[in-house]
Symmetry: none
Subunit: 526 residues, 2 copies
């Protein structure tokens, strides 16, 4: 279908705009790890940060020069000079040169309203600020890219002035003008029309930088490419302030697999899912299970009709082969899926999947467990363990529980303590461990890890990232059954496990144990 191969240049701003996300705080080491990963993926430009904003940022630029990058050029980000002051003495502009990058990107104002209300300066002075700063930087060596902040709002309000700001950057040597939808409120048809009109007036190559406030950042970026921009800016997983930036994990496969643009080397595209999880891990963010292309549920099929058709031909319910972005199809293991779903899963786990009698027995087991309140659809980790046990491909018993106890006390002063003791047998050796924690489940988690770490150091490389409790049959009040779901994560993957009991501590224990067994089993396989 796709005949022409054209190029779009990707510009990643995860380390700068993405780091503005509430909840993300990156160390220099974190940023260097992400740069290496983006270099592996083949991203041409990686915006490293704003050197003037903190000494940590400048340290990053010193460190990143020592990396031997194969594909990525790291850029420094800043703004135009201050109003009514010489550019040569502006410390913010000077720090951009001190970062010693091959490329510098600066932003300036394109919206007359912002010039007046936020900068409190004249429209004329703003044009000089753009011109001076681009010229000064260019004269000192680096290639200069120009981010036109609020370009689309500015163009709507005063198109002639917005164009003049672009001309000021272009005439002074900017090599690319990036049109920014800073407030993220524009619609794709408007973006397309404006890019079209700008292209007819400006000769320099254009780029696009979108925010997701109207849930349209990916669509707006695509619309701009259709209208002819040469550069697309975005972040991994769409991280960014408010509703985030345009998500490169969606834009890359759309451009490359659906529109025939070359973005990253085609064999590298298979790294995409891994890169998305890796960046989530380094940013300490929970991955979005339903994220297009790279989420663990992105190619997960639930209904029996869907699973049936998928067995006949995956194109029936998949818009592309998940393998191309490093993801995989998965059959959600609820009883809706039936025997076909069980056999499909067995095949995925490389178990003997041909015996229909075995599938039937297993399906009955799943149904019995689900009627007790287990919900394997939400806990594929526990599902895989259950199936491996049932199919007699029993993995080694990593440990045996003898007993546990949890004691929560509140003193007359209101102080709370939670203490857990567990007795487990590992490799024939009994371990009796006590640990404290923030709450009873955390205490149990601490005790179990303390017991297992000497035997299985890899347990130290996983951690719990999410924890859900659902009360089943809530009509029985505090004596109701509860279902606990736990999500764990390591550098490669994340997985959910489940426990059910009338006792919330016991339910949590079951999910914790499955979570650790899944990790150990996974590492053994690989």
């Amino acid at each position: 279908m796709i005949l022409v191969s054209r190029e779009v240049v990707l510009y990643d701003t995860t380390l700068r705009d993405g780091a503005q996300t509430e909840g993300i705080s990156l160390s220099v080491g974190d940023k260097l790890q992400i740069v290496r990963k983006l270099d592996d993926l083949g991203i041409p430009y990686v915006e490293g940060g704003w050197p003037a904003s903190s000494p940590k940022e400048m340290e990053f630029f010193q460190q990143v020069r020592k990396l031997k990058l194969k594909n990525s050029v790291v850029t420094a980000f800043g703004s135009t000079r201050k109003a009514n002051a010489p550019v040569g003495k502006d410390p913010q502009v000077e720090s951009l040169l001190k970062a010693e990058t091959q490329v510098v990107t600066i932003f300036g104002k394109s919206w007359d309203f912002h010039v007046r209300e936020a900068l409190k300066t004249s429209l004329e002075e703003n044009l000089k600020m753009i011109a001076d700063t681009v010229a000064h930087l260019k004269q000192h060596g680096p290639m200069v890219m120009y981010d036109a902040e609020h370009f689309f709002d500015g163009y709507l309000a005063n198109p002639e002035y917005a164009l003049k700001t672009l001309q000021a950057a272009a005439e002074n040597g900017a090599s690319c003008l990036i049109l920014c939808d800073t407030n993220g409120g524009s619609l794709p048809s408007f973006i397309h029309r404006v890019v079209d009109e700008v292209k007819s007036r400006i000769q320099v190559s254009l780029g696009i930088h979108c925010h997701n406030d109207a849930d349209l950042a990916v669509a707006n970026s695509i619309a701009a490419v259709e209208a002819g921009v040469a550069q697309v800016q975005g972040t991994v997983n769409g991280y960014g302030e408010r509703c985030g930036n345009a998500n490169l994990c969606s834009i890359i496969p759309i451009l490359q697999l659906k529109m025939g643009y070359a973005c990253v080397p085609s064999q590298r595209l298979q790294m995409l899912t891994e890169v998305a999880h890796f960046v989530a891990e380094v940013c300490n963010m929970k991955p979005d299970d339903h994220q297009p292309f790279v989420g663990v549920s992105a190619f997960a099929h639930k209904g029996g009709v869907h699973i049936n058709a998928m067995q006949k031909d995956p194109r029936t319910y998949e818009h592309l082969d998940p393998d191309r972005v490093g993801n995989k199809s998965r059959f959600v293991s609820s009883e809706l899926g039936g025997k076909a779903g069980v056999q499909a899963s067995a095949k995925v786990f490389k178990l003997d999947s041909t015996d229909p009698e075995q599938a039937k027995i297993f399906l009955e087991l799943v149904r019995a467990k689900e009627s007790e309140g287990y919900h394997y659809e939400m806990a594929p980790g526990s599902y895989e363990l259950l199936m491996r046990r049932a199919y007699k491909k029993r993995f080694k018993d990593f440990f045996e529980l003898e007993k546990f106890s949890v004691l929560i006390e509140r003193t007359p002063k209101g102080t709370l303590t939670s203490q857990a003791t567990i007795k487990v047998k590992v490799d024939g050796k009994s371990e009796h461990i006590v640990a404290e924690g923030d709450g009873p489940v955390n205490a149990l988690d601490q005790a179990l890890r303390k017991a297992l770490l000497p035997f299985y150091p890899d347990v130290g490389k996983m951690h719990l990232v999410d924890f859900k409790v659902r009360v089943l049959e809530s009509r029985s009040g505090t004596a109701a059954k509860v279902r606990v779901l736990i999500q764990s994560q390591d550098e490669q993957d994340s997985w959910w496990t489940v426990g059910v009991s009338q006792n919330i501590i016991e339910a949590s224990w079951q999910a914790l144990v499955d979570s650790i067994e899944y990790k150990l089993l996974k590492d053994k396989k690989s």
Copy 2:
């Protein structure tokens, strides 16, 4: 800017397609609650479910008929008849009529590939299946809408056949033909072109139903509206299988505030944020903080430069006024407003409501507690207690806690025991009580009741009916803070109370104590 007011009809499928989300499982009661909320918001069509799929679905249709809805029509969903079998004897089709809805929506195949590979029937028979089923349903009364599954993939593969499937539905009386991007892989420009072409060939009104596999469901829905469809289908919060369905919480404000379409009564649009959170709560899904329009971070400003400009004029960094969708701007620190609400509540509780200083102090207390994770909107019982305490109209101390402890043990045989001890002072008399229960919270509940019953026999007339646990800040895994909500009931009333702590036992204790105090206070007043 917006001059023309045109109408787009919304069709919500949260209860059917949304319920396909991995992790969502709705009871009949949950579904009825959601219907009521969507009716309040003013959604014209609410798809209730697939009556043939389970007895629970049919029970929903029996129950929903009893609701007095003001704005919404509930629809039943199903498929065309089986191949090579009479429509009148197809139990799946019959169950659609048994649901007794004014509108029935059925889906059928438009993609020749799917007819051959998934249905394993002839292209001709598929057309008959569509024609027969629409005609049969129509003849028995309800208005029939037709979902053309995989329409866009089908149109790409074999446009003439795809159009014939639409004609089969149209000629037999379908009142709206909904073009579905079932696999979610289409691009907005393609959607626009196809809708354009279909419109020139088909006279019946068209609708759009998009999935988000390419991160473009909202953009694709908007593109279809721009090309002239009259109905848009989607789900609250974009819930749905794999990567979800088109998100109505984004589509509604885009259509209504940015494009000038009438979707819901304009004063109802302010309910949008509340509806999004309500549905998330009923589905037991954590709301997405960064969700466009309705997320808590959607209008949250972090950087000093942004906050500065925002103080000068909110339009500098906001694409629309958050108030219009019931959301609000947020700065990292101080917030304003809300005093009027406090004074109104004080009046309801017959407290001195005229002192503005007291209202201010109380508002600060509520904000401090809410930033710790308390959520008084969900726990009016605890809110009333908090206000009575703050307004010095302190009710009698029914009891004083000295200390408690909870011990959970699992023996080597797997037996579990939960035991709670509490020491409380009632009427100057110390009571030291021990009790067992089914799980730690139940044990604590038993102990507290045992201690109080001799003094307050009315405690025996209330019981706990619902219990919800929500993990806040889930990133810290098992050390996360949890919010416990407890609903209690006596012969007259039911009330919700709340507790928050890193320790789930302590959080439950707080909610239990509030629940009992609320009951005692209520009885004293009456």
